[in-house]
Amino acid sequence: MKLSKRGLNTAAYVVFIALILAAPLVFDVFWLNRLSKYLVFGMLGAAIALSWGYAGVLNLGQGLFFGLGAYAIAMSLKLASATSLAQGSDTPIPDFMLWNAEPGAPTELCCITQGSFLWIPFQHTWFGILMGIVLPVVVALALGLIMFRKRISGVFISIITLAVVLLVRLLIVQAQPLTNGFNGLTDLGYLTVLGLEFDPYMPQTYYLIAISLALVLIGTRMLVETRSGLILQAIRDDDRRARFLGFDVPRYQAFFFCVSAAISGYAGMLYVMASEFASPTFMDLSFSITMVVWAAVGGRNSVLGACIGALLINMIEATVSETPALMEAWRVVIGLAFVFAVLFLPRGLAGLAMSLRDWLVARSAAEPRSLAEPAPAEERS
């Protein structure tokens, strides 16, 4: 049988999506809930691959977009929780606002604490969901246009994004009366859409996340195949050449930066549904760096590879973490895996898979006749 690269790439996606959709047949609810969180991390891996691998923009603050998405929906779900409705006022109000309120302050979102009116529109769940995408995209657009118009690149982008995520984290922690500071938003209600309740331990939540991941993977893969996706990769390789061909480079970079932010914001929302909390730890530097490690190990030039990298690392970690001694060793292993991937396996695990794919294609092509063609360029998958 003749094999083609495209065929094998498609097969990899089909197999992966089939596996995640079939997981509920094998796992119990506890594991399914865990797995759904890892799928969310896989989505983050894909977002990193898009910006790091395809755009050449190493964002060390991806957690900012994830966190904004998480907080946006968590605000809505907080107001939808039973405790928020039982604070003795006609309209819902988060319990922590009462704990932090000045004596005698009215128990109303309008004026219980300074800025609490910002919560008012989040009483509508659709607003929280909308903001979960809009906020990360607006922030990414502003940040992206400034950075890319000023032709900032490489390590300077990493430093700026890193600084911004730490700044926003600080603001959230500082605004304790408004955000519950370090403790984050807990005790949330379930998201309910058209009477369907997304309890994190019910299969519908798992399926929502698994199907979302499948769509994000397919969508991202198709996006990088478009002309714009090709031009983006061209800009990554040589932005000056692209500019002199007539492309408005900052627009391309900013557009894909926003797409990556939107995916991350969406992932943040799904994570809140699976874990029932939002916390400033989402904007910890270590979390954003961990995402980069997933993509490096899985393969930053591959949307699916980076996603699988995130899944694999988290699954191994979950297994290992049951033994405390192993957990310490695991941190070292992860560090070494990152260094190894950067030094010796720049295409990550996906690179190995692509070599295998190319070997299979070459072998199947060689069957009738000997191959006299030059080595083909690696395509990305």
Partner: protein
Amino acid sequence: MPSTLIGADPASAALTLDGLTVDFAGFRAVDTVSTVIESGELRVLLGANGAGKTTLMDLVSGKTRPTTGRVFLGDIEITGLEEHRIAQAGLGRKFQIPSVFRDLSVRRNLEVASCRNPGVFANLRLGFSLAQTRRVEEILAVVGLESKQEVEAGSLSHGETQWLELGMLMAQDPKVILLDEPTAGMTEAETMKTAAIIKAMRGRHTIVVVEHDMAFVREIASRITVMHLGRILAEGPIAEIETNPDVRAAYLGSKGIQ
């Protein structure tokens, strides 16, 4: 049209430089350069190292803003526009150090260059038109990279990289093309092949080329402009330039044109 160049026929001028000057902290790398390049012309720019040839191309293509002076592409003024706007107006440029998209295949490089519409939203679609594909194939044949079309551009030899970049300019299809030392570092055989490629581009584009190799210049040139210390020293057909005493003194030394 620029006042200093009355007499030039605006209908046939492809590129007009009018008193182009740039000051780098007091140092005039390009000093009041004025010239008209006719539509369809192939102009060679000669000059010793440091004469200001690359800087002149930077001024025309938008990499550097001129201190004074103006640039017209046809009858559109492009002075001081951003690089991509100038490119969209119909100017293509090849750099002295070849630059291609290293991680994309040779074919992809040409396809990217052939995307006429520059907008990110307009390009959110899959595949290329039949006309584009056909043109890419023609170009692959002209630059002789058909057998390497699926190879990553980063793994091409130096000569092949230069030819790919020429091919990308053909795919971009601008009215005016600036080539900065396209044969630098090439073997004699490669130089001759490059001359053939540039000749093939000639009918379709107006070309300005910086070149030192006199065999190459004799092979392709119609008119020559000689630059010295940022100024135009002489301009004319090759026979005239070769016998010009100023040129001999300033640029060619005692040896004359080889």
